[in-house]
């Protein structure tokens, strides 16, 4: 049999010196083998399958019924169950081409891209967060997800798809001594592929080594099915991939340049690059999303205020005064030490420690008290010790990252005093008295000042002449030295110059509104200043709408403290109260609504950031004199970034080429951009019809997804550990056909699903075949398969009628069970739970948070990728049963389906049962089934319960989650 297959190989090209073994041999031209049962052969795919079956004396299974095929095809190509009318029309279609027409229809359905992009995203280790400590959001990753969906829907030739993702920035030829061409938006997005690995906390050379090595491994396994990554530390143990080859391959990536992280995003390894919205209508969709979001913020705030009032009245207590939140922040590290906030009607202070700076914040006159319970051993010290600040500035910051906030603030904020040294008893008394008088007679809530935010500095060695004219915008006030500590103070950023002015008898400094983000400061005059004899007294009063302000001390973007306004502080307090008293004072719905509204503004801001016309991309370095040139690449012994071995030049893996000569990299005519074209050289080599692996690997992936198992079992490893191919000639033929079709994936889908092999029944009806080939390696029947997690969720929603069919767009956040999101949150929860239809889009849009797998998806073997995942496992666990039978998701959708059925079927029980079967299983109930459930319905105390339960049962059936 093997001989007969091999005899079909024509025109074998010369074998490479080393790689003389399949799959490193050229694909060549393969002629389908001769078979006896020619009428079974729908296309050449069948000839290969049948030839092997005939050689083993096995007859293929009969063709599946149309009712089975329509489900198979829908789930396979779209990941959704067929619409009932389409299924009926197909089943009744007398045309012999009915099946082919259905295939074409589905391949042209944009839901095809949503289904098949998921497989590619698994390979591309797609996620929306960077993983590790803090698991920071990658707000622009989703654009790559849409790029993949769109590319598949447009049947972008696979060779082009490769070039765009590896070298999207190096497409255009540079003529003469020309400038670099601008970057195309779509290809900029495509390059996100190279940046999707989990990475945080950049650490110089080491991180760069890891980044480039990850690119090398992933590109090799995804496009070539070569596990180059194994050769990062030593020669590959199983395949002929020496360590040198890994670094020769890595050298193609050596001029990669990541844009710098955005300000305050120090945990990220890089920032975004401009990339406009390029699909037709995309810009207008984005614009309307933006408008919706912006109006949503306003509504949410109003709703939160209303809800807060309502709930607070229930606890019978108004939270008055100040809230205050202090963070340790790094002048040389970035750790959040204390997020304690203290807020009640009596005391308002807390202490944070960072790098030995101990702070106390006074908001009223009550003496300090022991604080170490909250802040880790500050022992009640209540002065601020600022060793060497370059300046003090005020701005508003997002907790944790030092990222400036830029939305408006609201609410009342009174005064905060910060001292740079211990106060003596007299000073404490004076301040205490001051604060008391300030609030006496005002009840427990201080009246919000009407004036804007002011920031005052007063130090004796300052130029204390109040008559000094205010400096003009942009001129420098100078440096002020505190006479006690000799601390030099200066306003470092010219654009943020404070002005000198008079307040009462003392000089004071006023910061312009422009110093703050728009919407924070609203006019007004200063309230308070006392000459505190050399201390720096900072007093500000403000009207603002946000959660708080951050103080930046010492420069460099380090943040030390955030002050919380009363509105926010009361909500923080309320948050805890709600948590503690759900079920006695508040309902669960009220609690959830409160939490959701409370987080709304933060979440919406993040969504708005996601809408920026940028992508998580990269480009080549511009080279000297602008940026680094082409670095010397060395072999890194034992994979250690600083353990340099021999110098290597960029070259293709010798296991494929048979040699280890450097690759020819075609530079621009004047060699003005020596850093350019390296990745393009690699991409072109991969995407070449002469590359023996590229087409084979991709066709094997396609086969795997259509048939449940690859011709090579390990789709990203064509090496020795793969165990080889069951049908190598078939794979070769497919590869050749793929390239000849212009690398059209849709053409190949069509070919595979219209084969007789694909259309076989999945039933085990052939005892002889079962003996010879129990695992169906020869494909004598179709392999029954469980739906993957995405298809299960999508199908439940489709059947209940609640699937939101909207294509593309921002990540979605379906409801999570229980307190899962809360238990994995870092400083802030990232999961913007959507209870409405926004959260019921298809699963491919679910936010991929690396530290949080959605339990439902995880139970069914889906995972948020940390590394490239060539295939999914299929497990059967009681956890699946629990989530499908008891979980909120299925039970809610079962109720929705029941409602739909009652609406459409009226009170007729047989009609209800018929419709439930039709929607969930695409068939009618058998007589026995109809009668059994008819009886159950008739006996039920509550008809609504009966139909709800029935729908729940159908969603749980094997028939629903398995494709025949």
């Amino acid at each position: 049999m093997a001989a007969s297959l091999l005899s079909g190989v024509l025109g074998q090209a010369a074998q490479p010196e080393q790689g003389g073994r399949w799959p490193f041999t050229p694909v060549g031209r393969v002629v389908p083998p001769e078979v006896t049962r020619t009428n079974w052969v729908s296309n050449p795919v069948d000839a290969f399958i049948l030839s092997k079956l005939e050689a083993n004396g096995i007859a293929p299974a009969r063709l599946a019924k149309r009712r089975t095929l329509v489900r198979r095809l829908y789930f396979d190509l779209l990941g959704l169950p067929p619409e009932s009318d389409v299924a009926d029309a197909f089943i009744d279609d007398p045309s012999p081409l009915a099946y082919e027409r259905l295939v074409d229809r589905l391949l042209n359905d944009p839901r095809y891209g949503e289904r098949w992009a998921r497989y590619w995203l698994d390979l591309a280790r797609y996620a929306d967060t960077a993983g590790y400590e803090g698991d920071p959001d990658m707000p622009h990753a989703w654009r790559y997800r849409d790029y993949v969906i769109d590319s598949l829907n447009r049947d972008k030739p696979y060779d082009r798809f490769i070039l765009e993702q590896i070298a999207g920035d190096e497409f255009n030829e540079i003529m003469g001594a020309g400038e670099l061409p601008g970057m195309d938006a779509e290809r900029t997005v495509a390059l996100t592929f190279l940046r999707l690995a989990p990475f945080t906390e950049p650490r110089g050379d080491r991180s760069r080594h890891e980044l480039l090595s990850e690119m090398t491994s992933t590109v090799s396994s995804v496009f070539l099915g070569l596990t180059m990554g194994c050769a990062q530390c030593h020669d590959h143990k199983y395949d002929a991939i020496p360590i040198d080859d890994f670094y020769r391959m890595q050298a193609f990536f050596s001029t990669v340049q990541l844009p710098p992280p955005e300000r305050g995003d120090g945990f990220q390894i890089g920032g975004p690059m401009p990339a406009g919205f390029y699909r037709s209508n995309e810009s207008s969709l984005i614009e309307s999303t933006r408008k919706t979001l912006e109006s949503e913020v306003g509504e949410a705030k109003q709703q939160l205020a209303d809800l807060t009032r309502k709930l607070e009245s229930r606890i019978g207590k108004l939270n008055a005064g100040f809230g205050l939140q202090a963070y340790g922040g790094g002048l040389d590290n970035d750790y959040v030490f204390d997020t304690a906030n203290v807020s009640d009607s009596k005391l308002h202070f807390t202490v944070a420690t960072a790098n030995d700076r101990e702070w106390s914040f006074f908001t009223d006159g009550v003496p300090a008290r022991e604080l170490n319970k909250k802040s880790g051993g500050n022992k009640g010290k209540w002065y601020a010790d600022i060793p060497k600040p370059e300046y003090i500035s005020i701005g508003d910051y997002t907790a944790g990252t030092g990222q400036p906030r830029d939305a408006g603030h609201k609410g009342a904020f009174a005064e905060v005093l910060i001292y740079d040294r211990p106060l003596d008893g007299g000073e404490i008394a004076a301040l205490s008295a001051y604060v008391k008088t300030k609030y006496s007679g005002q009840g427990s809530t201080p009246a919000p000042p009407t004036d804007g935010l002011r920031f005052w500095l007063d130090a004796a060695d300052l130029d204390a002449n109040a008559e000094t004219p205010n400096p003009g915008d942009g001129s420098r006030v100078g440096v002020w030295v505190d006479k006690v500590t000799k601390t030099a103070l200066g306003q470092a950023e010219v654009s943020r110059q404070p002005r000198l002015m008079r307040l009462g008898q003392a000089p004071a400094l006023m910061f312009e509104k422009s110093f703050l983000k728009a919407g924070i400061a609203r006019g007004g005059s200063a309230k308070f200043l006392e000459d505190q004899a050399g201390s720096i007294v900072v007093v500000f009063s403000a009207e603002h709408t946000g959660e708080g302000y951050g103080f930046e001390v010492g420069g460099g973007g380090a943040m030390l403290a955030t002050f919380i306004n009363p509105a926010a502080s009361s909500s923080h307090k309320l948050r805890d109260t709600i948590y503690d008293h759900t079920n006695d004072l508040f309902t669960k719905n009220e609690r959830d609504l409160f939490y959701r509204l409370e987080n709304r503004e933060r979440f919406v801001k993040q969504h708005l950031k996601r809408l920026k016309p940028v992508a998580m991309s990269l480009r080549h370095s511009f080279g000297p004199p602008y940026e680094p040139g082409v670095p010397v690449t060395t072999v890194k012994l034992r994979g250690e970034y600083d353990n340099h071995g021999p110098v290597v030049k960029a070259g293709f893996p010798s296991i494929v080429t048979g040699h280890n000569k450097p690759a020819a990299i075609r530079l621009d005519p004047f060699k003005r951009w020596p850093t350019r074209s390296r990745r393009m050289a690699l991409a072109k080599w991969i995407a070449s019809r002469d590359n023996p692996l590229t087409a084979r690997v991709m066709m094997n992936r396609l086969w795997y997804r259509h048939f449940g198992r690859g011709i090579v079992r390990t789709p990203s490893d064509f090496g020795k550990l793969s165990g080889g191919a069951t049908h190598p000639r078939l794979l070769d033929w497919l590869a050749g056909r793929f390239v000849d079709s212009g690398w059209s994936l849709k053409a190949m889908h069509r070919l595979l699903v219209t084969s007789s092999t694909y259309r076989q029944s999945s039933l085990v009806e052939n005892a002889a075949a079962e003996m010879v080939d129990p695992l169906n390696d020869m494909w004598w029947r179709y392999e029954q398969r469980r739906l993957d997690a995405e298809a299960i969720r999508d199908s439940v929603l489709a059947v209940s009628g609640r699937l939101n069919p909207e294509l593309y767009g921002l990540p979605i956040f379906p409801p999570l069970p229980g307190d899962i999101a809360e238990t994995v949150k870092y400083s802030e929860n990232k999961w913007d739970t959507q209870l409405d239809q926004a959260g019921r889009k298809r699963s491919i849009y679910i936010y991929q948070q690396r530290t949080l797998n959605m339990p439902f998806m995880q139970a069914f073997d889906s995972t948020v990728c940390d590394e490239s995942r060539p295939r999914r496992r299929t497990s059967v666990t009681p956890l699946q049963a629990l989530s499908l039978f008891n979980g909120d998701f299925v039970n809610e959708e079962a109720a929705a389906l029941a409602k739909r059925i009652r609406r459409e079927a009226g009170d007729s029980v047989p009609e209800q049962i018929r419709l439930a079967y039709r929607y969930t299983l695409s068939r009618s109930p058998s007589a026995e089934e109809a009668s059994r459930f008819g009886k159950i319905f008739a006996q039920a105390d509550n008809p609504a319960d009966a139909i709800n339960g029935f729908c729940r049962v159908l969603f749980n059936t094997n028939e629903f989650v398995y494709i025949d």
């Binding site: 880790g376 003996m771 666990t877 629990l882």
Partner: protein
């Protein structure tokens, strides 16, 4: 493919599932049956490679980086040098350099050390209860981890790799040993009731192993396992009735498909899930524990109640045959973790008082029930800390990260109590002697569980992968 020994698919599958009643909560993996990578029966108890006493493992992970010289490594020299820059600063390069403030001012431990037990084990006065069990503990000092930051090093200690995507210790143990019970997952995780560790679920991930081997996070309140309760408004009778309807449909479906074992497995999974609804919550219900046990774990004391409950639950897991229990103390990198950059004294006073009594209680309780012999208890953290102060010159000093000097200890099973392996220099800055790497510790854990590190492997991405990566050295000095 090693299918030659199987007669046909049906037999292959039915043997793999071994009469499906044996299915543990972990479940079964379907396509590995096809893949044939030597794990035909993933849930059945596997034979071990060596004869070892330990059947179960409790892994105590202290998030944040426990200061070794303030807990278990006595370094009197640091006291002498307190407040002074080291005259001879050992060569410090790489990332640590960038992290340290200058000058490198040494700080001595603020705690008193004393010797305990027959073994004369030095311990700081922060562990008065654990000190009573000093002779049961075997210490490993000067362990080197691959990375200086919390994210990667937490992964390294828990999964053997500083990069996400590798299976955790518990996953390897359940993969290598199978499950010891039927109605609970083989590998459970009880995290700090205050929140999650760095990397979240990645530290109990199954990585590239099948999902069957992932850690199941027990919920801090309500039912211990997600969705264990029937949906609201559905009573037991209706639940049973609908389950019966489902199983009737599933059996009809199965009958047409000739008894496919995968479909059968799914039918059994529903039955097991139904049984678990009543059985599993009992395991988490500690209200029946007598007062002396509550006292032993410090359940009635606000400081110790949190970790005390975790430790008590761990004992109950061991009793019910759960193979691996991961307890996490500490929340990410907040001041509720051991990451004492500022005020290591205040921090250590708090953290130690939270865990000392519970951990000592757990060891004592296991011992009095005769379970310590068959339970390996491991104390771990992701890094040690520096002898130098962190930050400036005033206030209470803290300590920086130190990936060269992690201390861990083990107890139970065949661990030789009262022993020590590895050491650090007089400042506890770096390990001396043969470097002990995290993979050596992992090799030792596998060995103590009766597993050969080479034999517990999995083919993934072109390599035969294992917990110890390139192979670790079993630390024979602490193995009895």
């Amino acid at each position: 493919m090693n299918l030659s020994s199987w007669q046909n698919r049906r037999e292959f599958l039915s043997r793999a599932w071994n009469g499906i009643g044996a299915m543990a909560l972990g479940g079964v993996v379907i396509d590995d049956l096809h893949a044939g990578i030597g794990e035909a029966n993933p849930f059945a108890a596997q034979r071990t490679h060596f004869l070892r006493k330990a059947k179960n493992c409790i892994f105590l992970f202290m998030q944040g980086g426990v200061s070794q010289m303030d807990s278990f490594e006595y370094k009197p020299r640091l006291r002498e040098l307190h407040g002074k820059p080291l005259s001879h600063i050992p060569e410090i390069s790489g990332e640590l350099q960038g992290r340290l403030s200058f000058p490198h001012v040494t700080i001595g431990s603020p705690f008193e050390f004393a010797q305990h037990g027959q073994s004369g084990r030095w311990m700081s006065d922060r562990f008065p209860h654990l000190a009573g069990q000093a002779d049961d503990l075997a210490f490993i000092h000067g362990i080197k981890t691959d990375n200086q930051n919390h994210g990667p090093s937490t992964l390294h200690v828990n999964t053997g790799s500083q990069f996400p995507g590798s299976p955790s210790v518990g996953s390897w143990l359940s993969y290598g040993l199978g499950s010891g019970n039927r109605n609970m997952p083989g590998y459970v995780v009880i995290q700090d009731p205050r929140g999650a560790p760095v990397n979240g679920a990645a530290i109990w991930s199954n990585g590239y192993l099948p999902a069957t081997y992932q850690g199941t996070l027990l919920r801090p309140s309500g039912t211990p396992i997600l969705n264990l309760d029937s949906p609201k408004g559905i009573g037991r009778i209706r639940q049973r009735r609908e389950m019966d309807a489902l199983q009737w449909l599933n059996r009809r479906h199965l009958a047409k498909r000739g008894g496919d074992s995968e479909l059968e497995a799914r039918i059994s999974a529903y039955e097991l899930a139904f049984r678990m609804q009543t059985e599993a919550p009992d395991l988490m219900n500690i209200s029946g524990e007598p007062q002396h046990i509550r006292d032993l774990y410090g359940l009635d004391n606000g400081t110790t109640a949190g970790f005390g409950r975790q430790c008590l639950l761990a004992r109950r897991m061991v009793e019910s045959g759960v193979r691996h229990t991961l307890l996490v103390h500490g929340v990410q990198i907040t001041n509720m973790s051991w990451d004492d950059h500022g005020d290591v004294k205040g921090g250590m006073i708090r953290h130690c008082s939270e865990v000392d009594r519970p951990v000592a209680g757990l060891l004592a309780d296991l011992k009095q029930r005769g379970l310590l012999d068959e339970t390996l208890v491991v104390w771990a953290s992701e890094m040690g800390r520096t002898p130098f102060r962190n930050g400036g010159m005033s206030g209470n000093p803290g300590r920086e990260h130190n990936s060269w000097a992690l201390t861990m200890w083990m107890a139970g099973g065949d661990v030789k109590g009262g022993t020590t392996v590895g050491a650090t220099d007089e400042f506890s800055l770096r390990g001396i002697g043969d470097t002990i790497h995290v993979r050596d510790v992992h090799a030792t854990i596998l060995d103590l569980m009766g597993l050969d590190q080479e034999a517990v492997n999995y083919q993934h991405a072109g390599r035969i992968r294992k917990l110890t990566d390139i192979g670790g050295r079993v630390l024979k000095d602490i193995v009895g």
